[in-house]
């Protein structure tokens, strides 16, 4: 009898334990449910939908659902990897457009990311100096472009860089022989322009220049960003520096003062302290900033939309803008989503490479 009672109590104990574990689990899931739901609806679902539509020939117009809510089977056909094939492999206008966009985007990234990182670090170091008066003012001034609307800033830049705008007039006032540059509509690549100044043109470099790789002649691959793209690069650098400066600044203020004191006691010069202490200790932040910069620049869209719509002569057509153009101007939603997925893969690979180089994997 006594034994039976004890068996029973053990059983009860076990079952209450199991119960409370189960209850914990339920409570856990319930608490996480809102976050899961939001992530699922706004992140996972759209991504899966994008992958799905990249395998179809949907034109973005045919209704997916009819009025009574039932699925419209005639909206699209599955075409497998055809969209990817046309973007990447098959000769034709799609491939040409994609690689033109890739070329422009890579020039954009290579120009903007290093410059904005170095300038942001420089500004952060300056506004972090103890001797600087009016720090608050400078921090606000440098940060201001980042919190303004990029559309408004783009419009202001269009006024500044108009062919009779302040920039051209200013340069003309200093150099009277300067001929107005049509910043907003000049398709000349700056590397081409530099080479041209040295007397090197398409016709003098030899036959390889006309060899086509991915539908684009080699000579055109080497164009560099066009003048209009350069202007958008300046704009983009200027607007993003502020945010990056603030991140660098907070990291700088996290470096303990003792480290610098010890260096000073050891007789390190200001330059040595910067190179041997500040830069290495900022490595995790630098990784973070370059990653942000890479993602932001690879996806550049709004300034292009406002200023140039991809022109002149497609020299400001970026991959993100191409996605929009194929999806909404060209009515090829399948192709547009395939482009977006390729863009995602490119960013992913670049981030991995960049992580290797800056040693971000060790720092985090």
């Amino acid at each position: 009898m006594a034994q039976a009672a004890s068996v029973k109590s053990v059983a009860t104990r076990i079952s209450t334990q199991a119960d409370s574990k189960f209850q914990d689990a339920v409570a856990g899931w319930v608490f996480m449910a809102p976050a899961f739901l939001v992530i699922f609806v706004f992140l996972v679902l759209p991504m899966l939908a994008a992958v799905f539509f990249s395998l179809t020939n949907w034109n973005g117009i045919r209704p997916l659902f009819t009025g009574d809510g039932s699925f419209n089977a005639e909206a699209f056909e599955m075409v497998g990897l055809e969209n990817y094939q046309r973007l990447l492999i098959e000769d034709g206008s799609r491939q040409q457009a994609f690689f033109t966009a890739l070329k422009n985007t890579v020039y954009f990234v290579m120009g903007v990311v290093p410059v904005q990182t170095i300038l942001a670090l420089g500004l952060a170091v300056i506004v972090n100096q103890r001797w600087l008066k009016g720090k608050g003012f400078f921090r606000t001034a440098f940060y201001f472009p980042s919190i303004s609307s990029s559309v408004v800033i783009s419009l202001i830049f269009m006024f500044l860089f108009a062919s009779n705008g302040i920039i051209n007039q200013g340069i003309k006032a200093i150099f009277p022989s300067y001929e107005n540059v049509t910043w907003l509509n000049d398709a000349t690549g700056i590397i081409h322009a530099l080479l041209g100044a040295l007397g090197i043109t398409r016709n003098t470099v030899g036959g390889w220049a006309t060899t086509e790789v991915a539908g684009i002649p080699l000579w055109n691959w080497l164009s560099g960003p066009s003048v209009t793209m350069l202007m958008i690069m300046i704009l983009n650098t200027w607007t993003t520096i502020g945010t990056m400066m603030v991140i660098f600044l907070s990291a700088l203020q996290n470096i303990p003062g003792q480290v610098y004191e010890a260096a000073t006691v050891d007789g390190a010069s200001a330059g040595q302290t910067f190179r041997k202490i500040t830069v290495p200790l900022l490595r995790p932040t630098t990784f973070f900033i370059i990653t942000l910069g890479l993602i932001g620049t690879f996806q550049v869209f709004d300034q292009i939309y406002v200023i140039s719509s991809g022109g002149p002569a497609d020299t400001t057509l970026t991959i993100a803008y191409l996605v929009f153009r194929s999806g909404f101007d060209d009515q090829r939603m399948g192709l547009a989503t395939a482009t977006a997925i390729v863009l995602f893969i490119i960013i992913f690979i670049f981030t991995l490479i960049q992580r290797r180089i800056t040693g971000g994997d060790k720092a985090i």
Binding site: F65, E74, N164, N185, G311, D330, R332
Partner: protein, 404 residues
């Protein structure tokens, strides 16, 4: 606590019932478009109110959507979009072929009265899909002071236009400015006897006539007598012209009100576009009131009634009397428009007789991009006229192959 929850539930139920009760008695249809000038918006609102007064059981909700085409496209995708909406002639074939439009051509009041070129624009696979709201054509806009000062006559052929541009061009003033884009170039192509598509729908762009037309257009710019609006520091050709930086431009009806409002001191006039060897041609830009396809439209009859009211003889008179930039699509209202707007704008109306549609088969978006790029590249000296035509013809062929 429990009581108040119950109270809320009962209230919600009552509300839902009353709303659905209202809906039974009253049909609501949505009318979507983009915002034009304040005066035009007010006129449309007034026309809609007149329709509501005549049809008390129908409520019209007017939506002016920014980024209109993106707004519509996302609506189409979900199958839930406005009952009546603007359709740009350029989009008609894309939208009609996707089955989002209900063709109501046979229910339009006196459709013969609508200009034939306009009816053709909105016809897809032998069905008239919708009735045009109004239209604009391209004409030659010129600065009368500059013409007088230089002693130049209004050009009637492209050679004369080239000569006039050369005579008018100075250090600071371009002889002519236009957007470097397909619609400004197409009249030259048509007037030279070229075409984009043959009768049977095959690509006929690659022809000596087309190459010659590109050479003429590009020639103005490479010779320096033509300059692009961006080059003149302006956002578009109308602005450059108004500022007195160009003696001529090729623009549509929308430039009228713009110049009157923004540049009242500039003296200008309008002429029909010069003619080419194959006669006269201009471009017509027009918008119709599309009606949502039956499958996605629960108020089909009311929708068609609204579209027909707005575009019918009465609606056309309203457009005409307003004297806005765009002209009424009905010949019967042309005189009323000229009276309201001014007889000097007759060249725009004349274009209605021989205008070609700004409209393409489905999937021709990248054709336009390629052509625009080609024209820019040719002016920059990176492409020849033949290469421009060849690359555009290739893309056109690709788009057609894609769709078949």
């Amino acid at each position: 606590m429990r009581k108040s929850v119950l109270g809320v539930a009962v209230l919600a139920l009552l509300l839902a019932l009353s709303v659905s009760g209202l809906a039974l008695a009253q049909e609501t249809i949505q009318l979507a478009g983009w915002s034009s000038s304040d005066a035009e918006n007010a006129a449309l609102t007034a026309a809609v109110e007149a329709f509501e007064a005549a049809n008390p059981s129908i409520d019209v909700e007017l939506i002016f959507a920014p980024e209109f085409e993106t707004f519509m496209q996302t609506g189409f995708a979900s199958g839930d979009y406005p009952n009546v909406f603007y359709v740009d002639s350029f989009r008609l074939q894309d939208w009609a072929s996707s089955g989002v439009l209900e063709p109501y051509g046979d229910q339009i009041t006196d459709s013969e009265d609508i200009y034939e070129p306009l009816r053709n624009i909105f016809t897809y696979e032998d069905q008239l899909y919708c009735a045009p709201k109004d239209f604009s054509t391209l004409a030659l806009v010129y600065n009368t002071d500059m013409f007088e000062a230089a002693g130049v006559e209004v050009p009637t052929t492209w050679e004369e236009l080239g000569a006039a541009a050369t005579a008018l061009a100075t250090e600071d003033v371009a002889g002519i400015t236009t957007g470097i884009e397909l619609p400004r170039f197409l009249p030259l192509l048509y007037q030279n006897g070229g075409s984009i598509l043959a009768e049977d729908g095959s690509v006929s762009l690659n022809s000596p006539e087309a190459i010659q037309a590109v050479e003429t257009f590009v020639g103005w710019y490479t010779a320096g007598v033509g300059r692009s609006p961006a080059d003149l520091g302006a956002g578009w050709a109308g602005e450059a012209f108004g500022q007195g930086k160009a003696a001529m431009t090729i623009e549509g009806n929308w430039i009228i009100q713009y110049l009157l409002d923004q540049f009242p001191d500039t003296n200008w006039s309008v002429a029909e576009l010069p003619a080419g060897p194959a006669g006269q041609a201009t471009m017509a830009f027009t918008v119709c009131y599309g009606v949502a396809a039956a499958a996605n439209n629960d108020n089909l009859e009311a929708s068609i009634a609204l579209a027909d009211f707005l575009t019918g003889p009465e609606g056309a008179q309203l457009v005409a009397a307003g004297g806005f930039g765009p002209m009424p699509a009905r010949a019967s209202a042309a005189d009323a428009w000229l009276t309201a707007r001014g007889e000097e704008f007759a060249p725009f109306v004349a274009g209605g007789e021989y205008a070609r549609p700004w409209s393409f088969p489905p999937g021709f978006g990248s054709f336009i991009d390629t052509f625009n790029t080609g024209l820019n590249e040719a002016i920059a000296g990176n492409m020849t006229a033949a290469e421009v035509i060849e690359s555009a013809a290739e893309i056109a062929q690709e788009a057609i192959d894609d769709m078949s």
